[in-house]
Symmetry: C2
Subunit: 288 residues, 2 copies
């Protein structure tokens, strides 16, 4: 595997440099003069073989796209548009150059210009994507700004990814392997949402994080479940990458699911069917 | 190891948020409104156990600081000041929380505010640092702007890191384990340098990259060698993290070493003692 050849391959395919970029791949740093009036948002997400995917069940290109999508979903959660990404990729010495390029081609399929990165070796494929997004200044949507009384929504039925991971077949399995970020919807919701985040670790854990950040509690009153998934998949399963957001007034829109209201609670508890919901979910350190 | 506790520990110690930051650690993304008139530079660098360091010879805190320094050195190479960093860290399941915090404390010792990150598990410690730096608009120094006739300098004697890696003792070993980024010097040189980069992979390979980017050749006429190191250490040894830069006019300044001139050469060759120098050096994919 030649670092030089991979860099040349990437430079030729990394996408047109976004407006404001003077230098992309090929120098010590990428150089960017951000357009005025913008707020930039940054996220970084790791994808580790045998934790986040296995080569037995995902193609390298699928894994690469999944790596980017994890980052882009965080950008969408802020109501932002992805602008550029940097990718660090460590691969086992046993991998061929064609395999490395296959992973990279998956990352590029996500359509976000790649302006820099680093290559190394590791016992398993270990990728880290940093994505920068932009919003008009002051408009990035946070987790910490929900108020008691706000309505809570999710952008789709939940549990598909957990169901897919368990059954390894059908639409749920495809959803698990090829998640999509809800960027378009997030941009349309930006003006209505009082708080927002993406569902990467399951509704129970992620909603508890939103509640803690906003210092309120939540009362779940409905739970949209992906066909075939269990209630547990929908509450505690990770990696659905749907949007979780709150609004002051109720909203009616195709594809949005009302799930309850935020409530006053200094202990930030979540209630579901008369019981307190445990703040547990998908743990990225254990892959379960 | 609890992701929640580590995040809380980091939030308490990650340093004051830089000017312009609305949100750091704790949301889906960090949120930043860059001050006007600035150019931002971005780099990302991986540090992999048994490739870039071993636990037998480095403390976890040293490894953490080294991880940050690799990124900050790239920022210095652009003549920029580090503004913030994001860190992704995957650690073996066998590591304790105290060990993870020890690595993180090393990263924080570098003094760059940490505004985000990700935690995961992997067979060996695998860290990826993304650093953002700033310069006045249009002032970031590139590799691609040297001209034939320019004088070439390095910021210190070379080969210390390679010597240290081989002998595992003395000042050279300390330099290998605890490299420093030449940020202060880089800022003072910014107005004089016609091109600049940092020496991470050895003079021969890095200078050849500068030559290729600038479409010129180079004639080496002097080689400052770290005491005890060999000529080969100085030419081909990696990780010295000194600055390599060119100037239109000769410079006299304590600590700077003149090493030759850029020359017209469409094949971007480097000449040393009448022979063409091979563009080989430290390969981050093989760790040699």
């Amino acid at each position: 595997v030649s670092e030089q050849r991979i860099t040349e391959w990437l430079t030729a395919r990394a996408g047109r440099l976004p407006r404001g970029f003077r230098v992309g791949i090929g120098d010590d740093c990428a150089v960017y003069a951000p357009p005025p009036g913008q707020e930039l948002v940054f996220t970084t997400d790791m994808l580790v073989e045998d934790i986040h995917f296995t080569r037995a069940t995902s193609t390298l290109s699928e894994a690469g796209l999944r790596c980017l999508t994890r980052g882009v979903s965080d950008i969408a959660a802020m109501g932002a548009t992805p602008v550029f990404a940097l990718l660090s990729l460590a691969t086992p010495r046993s991998m061929t150059e064609a395999q490395v390029l296959s992973f990279l081609s998956g990352v590029l399929r996500g359509g976000v210009p790649l302006v820099g990165g680093d290559l190394s070796t590791a016992p398993v494929i270990t990728a880290d994507i940093t994505v920068c997004g932009a919003t008009p200044r002051g408009r990035a949507g946070l987790r910490s700004t929900a108020k008691a009384g706000d309505h809570i929504y999710v952008s789709g039925p939940l549990g598909a990814s957990a169901l897919g991971l368990r059954t390894k077949r059908g639409a749920a399995w495809q959803r698990h392997k090829n998640p999509r970020a809800r960027t378009d919807l997030a941009l349309r919701l930006r003006q209505h949402a009082t708080a927002a985040m993406d569902l990467s670790d399951g509704l129970a854990l992620d909603l508890s994080r939103l509640c803690l950040a906003s210092r309120v509690g939540a009362e779940l009153q409905a739970l949209p479940i992906f066909p075939g998934a269990s209630e547990s998949d929908a509450l505690f399963g990770g990696e659905d990458y749907e949007l979780l957001f709150t609004t002051r007034r109720p909203m009616q829109r195709a594809g949005l699911h009302w799930i309850g209201r935020m409530v006053n609670d200094c202990r930030s508890r979540i209630w579901w069917q008369g019981e307190e919901l445990p703040a547990k979910g998908w743990d990225h350190r254990s892959g379960t």
